[in-house]
């Protein structure tokens, strides 16, 4: 009897050892390539990107053997970051452009966020309030731009703001009766409340494409509010406006916070629409940081400087992400 037990135990041990060997082999064959791949295509570029910020670097100059650092691409230490703090009007052009792009990025993001929420929240509530059968149709109308390539969206909005053949001028003409030919995206003297009209034009195009994201997330959040809560409020004689302000919005607070952060982070990195509609112009009025980074790195061959700017962008994104995690850590009780 004891013998049988011993045999059985030994058998199981053998099986489990064999199984562990199989697992180890499996992990070796999968995790090792992953680590190698990520080291080469993620870790190495990140480290290289940070290192570049401390050099005067151009891909056109050969430099020393090790990644082209040194030689013609000299180490400059914190020079790039120091010159970012040079606010005198005699500062080099790229420094002044960095200041402009930093301000424009913040301005862009802080206009986008409230505007986006002001459109998507009521729109989500409206779509939720209509009959089940047409809900999907309306949602599709506002969601489809999310799926379109932003290059197409930017070109399409270019036709709206086109100085001679544009929709906007056509509408103004038909209302006012007099033909207008305003060059909305290229006339730097146009301002509304101190904000360049070119910037407003790219903001409109960006919001048009982007609002579908938040919309579907808010619709889902609205649907997850239990009917019992709403019914209880109805019995208490609450009208639909009070319901939205005092019951629905507070319940959606965590969702709104999270989507706000995501909206902000992605608008910090806006590139496609601005690059295609205005190229950052007129007179740098729509120059955001990603345009500045792209121009410096790939048009003017100032890769070291561009890396330094991208680190500033990274810090901006990190700051917002940290604020986000702080806010999410706070208790959210219904």
């Amino acid at each position: 009897m004891q013998d049988v037990q011993k045999k059985g135990r030994r058998f199981f041990r053998q099986v489990s050892m064999k199984r562990d060997a199989g697992k180890r082999k499996f992990l070796g064959f999968t995790v090792t390539p992953l680590v190698l791949y990520m080291t080469f295509w993620t870790l190495f570029p990140v480290l290289w990107g940070f290192a570049l910020a401390f050099f005067e670097y151009s891909a056109r100059r050969s430099g020393n053997t090790l990644l082209g650092f040194g030689g013609d691409n000299p180490f400059v230490g914190l020079q790039h970051f120091k010159s970012m703090l040079n606010f005198s009007p005699e500062a080099p052009k790229w420094v002044r452009q960095f200041h402009i792009s930093f301000k424009t990025t913040l301005l862009f993001a802080f206009i986008i966020l409230p505007l986006n929420l002001a459109i998507t929240l009521p729109l989500a509530a409206l779509i939720e309030s209509v009959h089940e059968r047409v809900k999907g149709i309306f949602r599709t109308f506002f969601f489809l731009p999310v799926l379109a390539p932003s290059a197409g969206v930017a070109i399409m909005w270019g036709y709206v703001f086109h100085p001679q053949k544009g929709l906007l001028n056509a509408i103004i003409t038909s209302i006012g009766g007099k033909y207008v030919a305003t060059n909305w995206t290229a006339d730097q003297s146009l301002m509304i409340m101190g904000i360049p009209v070119a910037l407003i034009a790219v903001i409109v195009a960006y919001i048009w494409q982007d609002l579908g994201y938040n919309l579907v997330i808010f619709i889902a959040a609205l649907q997850s509010i239990p009917d019992s809560v709403k019914d209880a409020a109805k019995i208490d004689g609450v009208n639909s406006w009070q319901m939205f302000i005092h019951i629905v919005l507070p319940l959606m607070k965590p969702t709104i916070l999270l989507t706000s952060i995501l909206t902000m982070i992605s608008s910090f990195q806006v590139f496609d629409i601005i690059q295609i509609m205005t190229l950052g112009g007129p007179n740098d009025q729509t120059r955001v940081m990603s345009i500045d980074i792209y121009d410096n790195a790939f048009r003017f061959q100032r890769m070291g400087w561009a890396s330094a700017v991208s680190i500033v962008l990274f810090l901006l994104v990190m700051t917002i992400s940290l604020v986000q995690s702080r806010m999410l850590e706070a208790d959210w009780e219904y």
Binding site: G49, V134, R139, G158, I217
Partner: protein
């Protein structure tokens, strides 16, 4: 004589129409730019030069589309092919690596697992601008600039995908995996025949999102593809628009041809995509 009191089942309130009116109006505003472009693509060049501009085409023509189809400088079929190759290859490899490593991070233990997972999560927070310049330099050293490989090779893993599939794999019962092991299945076989089927819906949704993301990508292709014949659709569209800035009847038709077909496909799959976005909060 007594008349029967009228009892309406439901009182129709005029306020009930307000959401519909607002929504219809907002929808019109939202689709107007798109309608403008589609209508414009059917106008003649002469009509588009007219002042003031017209809304509906006075003289409906498909000549613009014919011109584009016959333009030898714009082999649209080639660019559709390029975009399809890149998007399909990336969907395939990203789904493979995301599901495999998501499963491994959920169900296996190995040395430095937490460190590796933390690193993968951390890369999600990095703006692409940080790795953009070194990424370009690496590809240039490997002589991969102006090759479609430049869009495929660096895109084999997706940190978000790994994270997502780890969450989904956690809910796969361990008993199921052990049962397969007792039956003598190899670990890879378990992944393929037990785990993958469990992840089916997530694979479909995430695959759709990945396809869309790759199909619409602009910045990275703009950097690594500078020769015409390897360009993808978004890049060629902006190139063509700049080349023909004075013939917007042609560029409008080109935009419609690039945007509309795939947008229709996406429209039919949007239920999945919406599910994916609301489930993950992916941006």
């Amino acid at each position: 004589m007594l008349t029967k009191p009228k009892i309406s089942k439901r009182k129709w309130k005029p306020q009930a129409a307000i959401p519909y009116i607002v929504l219809v109006f907002a929808s019109i505003v939202a689709v107007l730019p798109f309608v403008w472009m589609v209508l414009g693509s059917f106008k003649t060049g002469r009509e588009l030069r007219q002042t003031p501009p017209t809304f509906f085409p006075q003289e409906f023509t498909v000549e613009n589309y014919n011109t584009i189809m016959q333009d030898e400088d714009l082999p649209l079929a080639l660019f559709y092919r390029n975009s399809t190759i890149v998007a399909a290859a990336n969907v395939f490899q990203v789904l493979f690596t995301s599901s495999l490593f998501g499963y491994i991070f959920a169900k296996f233990d190995f040395k430095k697992k937490d460190l590796l997972f933390w690193f993968i999560l951390a890369t999600m927070m990095l703006p692409s601008q940080i790795t953009m310049i070194p990424g370009y330099l690496i590809l240039a050293k490997l002589k991969l600039i102006n090759k479609l490989w430049a869009l495929i090779i660096p895109a084999a893993t997706d940190a978000f995908g790994i994270f997502l599939f780890r969450q989904f794999s956690l809910s796969i019962p361990n008993e199921l995996l052990d049962a397969a092991r007792v039956d003598g299945a190899s670990e890879f076989r378990i992944y393929r025949s037990v785990v993958l089927p469990q992840l089916g819906p997530a694979l479909a949704t995430f695959g759709m999102l990945t396809f869309m993301f790759n199909w619409n990508a602009y910045l990275w292709p703009l950097i690594v593809l500078t020769e015409e014949k390897v360009r993808t659709l978004p890049i060629i569209l902006t190139w063509y628009s700049n080349q023909h800035a004075n013939q917007i009847h042609l560029t409008m038709a080109a935009s419609v041809m690039v945007v509309l077909p795939v947008l229709l496909v996406f429209a039919f799959t949007q239920k999945w995509i919406v599910k994916g976005i609301t489930l993950t909060g992916l941006k």
